[in-house]
Symmetry: C2
Subunit: 265 residues, 2 copies
């Protein structure tokens, strides 16, 4: 079972849109998906219309109240299930501050069973706290959505420090699959220049022993497309809402590219 963390501590760069639509794209390709909403703001949960059901049966209860993980799994469709977040999750950061092994709670719970999923995808909040650490500790691959703006490189540097620490101390299997360019403004010099900087940064680590030595910039970028901003209010992925939009095309192409990476092609 592949476990993929969708992570970037910068806010509003497309993590949730990627978890939802890349997740749905992979489901379109026949993968059985489990999406876990690790953000107390619960946008992935809301995107799938699960706010109402999330109360009392979400990530917070699993992490702090010993709720069995299967009781927190809510089916969305035949190929997509969700572990939702609710507002109580905001308390987890402080509640877990002195719990031993607090970064590996989710990993241990998930490892304890066999699950009927091909890929688990973790939607992280815009921070590098205990929730993101749980994601990094249980993942085999990391996908970093990046808005090609100023500070994308600086943010990546900080994130890689955290990934290096987790890889070194807690999860030797952790590796960065790559960066996904989101909210890409085609035709602006800014987007192109930032992609260039990020590519150079990744190239400089090839052949070294860091967990991002094989990381790539995914060829398929996700262009800015208002349909992607609209589909959450209908509780749908882009494939249900606007299947012929650039948003759907881009995320499906990204799903195919990710599957090649996973299959080692």
């Amino acid at each position: 079972m592949e476990c993929i963390a969708i992570i970037n501590q910068k806010g509003g760069v497309g993590k949730t849109s990627t978890a939802v639509n890349l997740g749905a794209g992979l489901a379109q390709r026949g993968k059985r998906m489990l999406l876990i909403d690790l953000d107390p703001q619960g946008h992935l949960t809301t995107h799938f219309g699960l706010d109402g059901d999330a109360a009392g049966r979400g990530v917070y209860e699993v992490l702090t109240q010993n709720l069995p993980i299967e009781e927190a799994i809510h089916p969305y469709s035949p190929t997509i299930s969700v572990i939702p977040s609710n507002v109580d999750l905001a308390a987890a950061e402080v509640e877990l501050v002195s719990v031993v092994g607090r970064e590996v709670i989710l990993r241990d719970l998930l490892a304890a069973k066999n699950w009927p999923y091909d890929i688990v995808m973790l939607d992280c909040p815009p921070s590098l706290g205990i929730l993101s650490l749980n994601a990094l500790c249980m993942s085999t691959r990391v996908l970093i959505p990046v808005q090609p703006h100023f500070l994308a490189l600086q943010g990546a540097g900080k994130l890689f420090e955290t990934i290096a620490l987790v890889n070194h101390r807690l999860n030797p299997k952790l590796s960065v699959a790559g960066m996904v360019m989101c909210l890409y403004d085609a035709g602006t010099r800014l987007s192109a220049e930032v992609v260039d900087d990020l590519a150079k940064f990744l190239d400089s680590s090839r052949g070294t022993k860091v967990p991002w030595s094989n990381a790539r910039i995914f060829k398929n970028v996700i262009r800015r497309n208002v349909k992607l901003a609209e589909c959450p209010s209908y509780g749908q992925s882009i494939f249900e809402y606007a299947p012929r939009s650039n948003g759907a095309t881009d995320y499906l192409a990204l799903a195919d590219e990710l599957l090649e990476v996973i299959d080692g092609r």
Copy 2:
């Protein structure tokens, strides 16, 4: 001295761009500005090119190491000074967890002296933790940058709950001046519909006793403009980088509108 919190727990909606460029717009109109970077990610600090100087002399040291606040004030220009953030600020949330009066540390320090500023502007991180609470406890007015996307209304609701609590228990002077539409995509139905929903929401509280009963949607919206995304990498506000751009026009018009509100017109 006016104290204005720029706050929204949703990431990437234009808080920092507003703190920088609305701040600079007010400075253009002759106001002496103090900008305080309350985000551990330090984007406002980086925007003004102060990363290097921030080490050891920023918000973190003021909050947790008894650094006198004047030693953390870094001049950027004759009309703009900055209290920077550095990466250590991420630890403040946990370090202050059991400190009595942790939400009013900044307020008490600022109240203890007379300052040569007309307006203090606080750039908040994308969360409602101790840093944002310090901002709300010391502010007279709240400005909420909003990206007119799905969940803008839900986010506002959650933010208003926190504002109501702070107003009730800690800061009776706190009031919401209004919402600033940022990253506004002119010509999309989505932007227009969300603005409509937010306006109805605010109208429904007119004449009640809540701290947002006089809140407005600022008429001057900030349109999406790549110049606003570019100017941080030059360490400049939009007025220095691209004074004839829509970004400069919009933020200057917003500054004038805010000054009317402050002067009670």
